[in-house]
Amino acid sequence: MALTGIQIFKLTPKKNCKECGSPTCMAFSMKVAQGAVTIDKCPHMSEEALAQLSEATAPPMKTITIGAGDEEHKLGGETVLFRHEKTLVSKNLYAVNLTAADDADAKLAAMTKVDYDRIGERMYVELVNVKYTGEGADAYAALVQKAAATGRTLVLECADADAAKAALAVCKDKGPVLNGANPSNYEAMSAIATEAGVALGVTADTLEALYDTVAALEKAGNKNLVLDVGTASIKDAFSKAVLIRRAALKDEDRTFGYPSIVNIGAIAAGKPELQAALAAVFTLKYGSILVMEDMSYAQALALYGLRQNIYTDPQKPMKVEPGIYPINGADENSVCVTTVDFALTYFVVSGELERSGVPCNLLISDAGGMSVLTAWAAGKLSAGTIAKFIEEHEIANKIKNRTLIIPGKVAVLKGEMEAKLPDWNIVVGTTEAVQLVKFMKDYK
């Protein structure tokens, strides 16, 4: 909870020595409350007061770091419940579930097949959830080792102390999560996780019990936690995910200020479509790690697209890289089509061009990530910017075809473009992307 100036003032030494740059302790306290200066500008604060202040000004939800090296991921750290209030900072991560009953090699191979780029973001299954099913510590460690060999970060779903220790022995350097604490074993599991230096997953049947367990863990000094919403039912998992996040961010109860784990594969076992639907729900409503039975390409295409949309900065549009995008097997003799780098425009236009079946080179110039008319109005899309793009990307050397189709909404550019690009035949295209299929077919 944010402190008022008066509350901060009570913690200052009240010397009015001006060393902080403010005329009085009171004035300084007011500035701190507004966030204009930080408390460390006063050299005379007592340790005790500082501890109290840092507790009070700590973010409502902790950021938990898992994984290692290139595979390091951040979870949590959110400050708002809805993306229109402020940017959401830590996208949810996906895990595929693996148990001793699975054909591990086949399952892991299928998982690693989903790996592609979408608007500059690598889309893949970031985590493997290795679930302990009583096969014994050695067998579990061997399975964990196999999963670790994929390079992906692991979630060890294991409440058995010996198996957890054996598993951590083979993978603790990779920053796994040990998801195995509950109200009856949390002390032992916390000791194991702390010793290995990894985050601890905590679960309980009820929110009250979960809360008490987290409070006890925090009291014992472990604040590197992830909260598992359990698998009692879909409704129960959803309720817990929402209530935990709401308690942390709206009601400012930091005991619940941790990221969550939702085992969707367990609450919708054997139903891949239902799992996809639920993953969409938990992407919006407060799942941090989403465990699926599998991740097919079909699920990934929809779910990663959704996640990428939800975790964009509302102030900043998504952009694609300027360049040549050949469509339908286009080569240097295929016609050129140009539009802006706003991701949404790019997707819609490239989709329609693909549907037309006509080979063409889509030329994307830097238009500041704006839509066609906005970019044109802002001077980011003009005869000059397109001509410059064609020169800088040496399009004339790369493509022999000299026909360039421009967006119908900027038909006014035709004359000026003909002047700037005398070798080119400038053709005015359609005003809406949906008309492109017919236009391209007719054009051909």
């Binding site: 959803f238 996809a276 097919s296 390409y297 949309n309 989709g351």
Partner: protein, 313 residues
């Protein structure tokens, strides 16, 4: 201090709108909470699932949809099957053939078909136009007239044609008016204000706030839905308290993920599975942010989304 769950329902509520007649009639809205926040208060009415059929038939659909309708040869029979689909709450007839740039069927012919469909099924019916604002302005007026007494949902009145559609569907013939705006809370509110000023009662309006497939600018849809529900419930804005209906399939069946053939994209796998996943993911996202009804096409999607709603209620 132990954790204590304090229910936080809002004082304001979403308006409750009934569509259809008799035992199969459905109610949309009525809740005082964000979607599925049953710990705050039960939602009086579960969100509903509509099945979209086109008067152009199902020739170009994926195999699972074709198989479902099988040897059906006319739209009325298709509607009967759609109404009986597992998980279906209502049927949505899309009068695509009215499109002046397409088949360009006459308004009377289309209205006659709408009437025949309405007479053949017990399930509530929604009618979608052909997306040509001018033609829809005539078409949906006529449809509203011939469906008098059916309490159908007319999709949709837009800024360009709300006067004629609002007056006929919402006032003269007692239908429910879909108010369609383009993914912007202010535009949505403005259209509701215009319809109200025209004399259409807020209780007869459902909003289509616009939509996008997952991955295709869906963030605007999510935020528009979130902000609309927050304003309706949190600020008691009665010009945004209409229930929300979101067509899903009309968007998702147009994107690359659902269209690209397996030959073109071998690593992506079955086109049909991709189409279903795009449909259920987009629908589930909309429901999580507050849609009171979604419109889908594939039987597997309808079954999945309806199961999900039941599980979350």
């Amino acid at each position: 201090m132990p954790f204590k769950l304090t229910p936080q329902p809002f004082k304001a509520a979403i308006k409750e709108v009934e569509v259809g007649c008799g035992a199969k009639a459905i109610k949309l809205g009525g809740e005082k909470t964000f979607p599925f926040y049953s710990f705050d208060a039960e939602m009086p009415n579960a969100p509903k699932v509509g099945v979209e059929i086109s008067d152009l038939g199902f020739e170009n659909e994926v195999a699972g949809i074709k198989d479902f309708y099988g040897d059906v040869t006319n739209v009325v029979e298709m509607a009967k099957k759609a109404a009986a689909m597992e998980g279906a709450d209502f049927v949505v007839l899309r009068l695509e053939s009215a499109d002046p740039n397409g088949v360009n069927k006459s308004v009377d012919e289309c209205a006659e078909l709408a009437k025949a469909v309405a007479d053949a099924i017990d399930a509530p019916l929604a009618i979608m136009g052909c997306k040509n604002d001018e033609k829809d302005g005539e078409l949906l007026v006529k449809v509203s007239e011939v469906l008098e007494g059916k309490n159908a949902m007319i999709l949709s009145a837009k800024e360009a044609n709300y006067k004629t559609i609002g007056a006929s569907a919402g006032m003269a013939y007692g239908q429910k008016v879909g108010a369609e705006s383009a993914v912007d809370i202010n535009l949505a509110k403005q259209l509701n204000v215009l319809l109200t000023q025209l004399g259409v009662k807020g209780e007869t309006v459902v909003m289509n706030l616009g939509t996008a497939a997952a991955g295709y600018g869906y963030e605007y849809v999510a935020s528009t839905l979130d902000r609309t529900k927050a304003a309706a419930l949190g600020q008691n804005d009665d010009m945004l308290q209409m229930p929300i209906i979101t067509p899903i399939s009309t968007e998702t069946y147009g994107v690359k993920e659902a269209i690209a053939s397996e030959d073109d994209m071998p690593e992506w796998g079955s086109q049909e599975t991709r189409a279903i996943d795009m449909e259920v993911v987009t629908a589930a996202a909309c429901l999580a942010s507050g849609s009171n009804a979604v419109i889908l096409r594939h039987p597997a999607s309808v079954a999945t989304v309806s199961t999900m709603i039941k599980e979350l209620m």
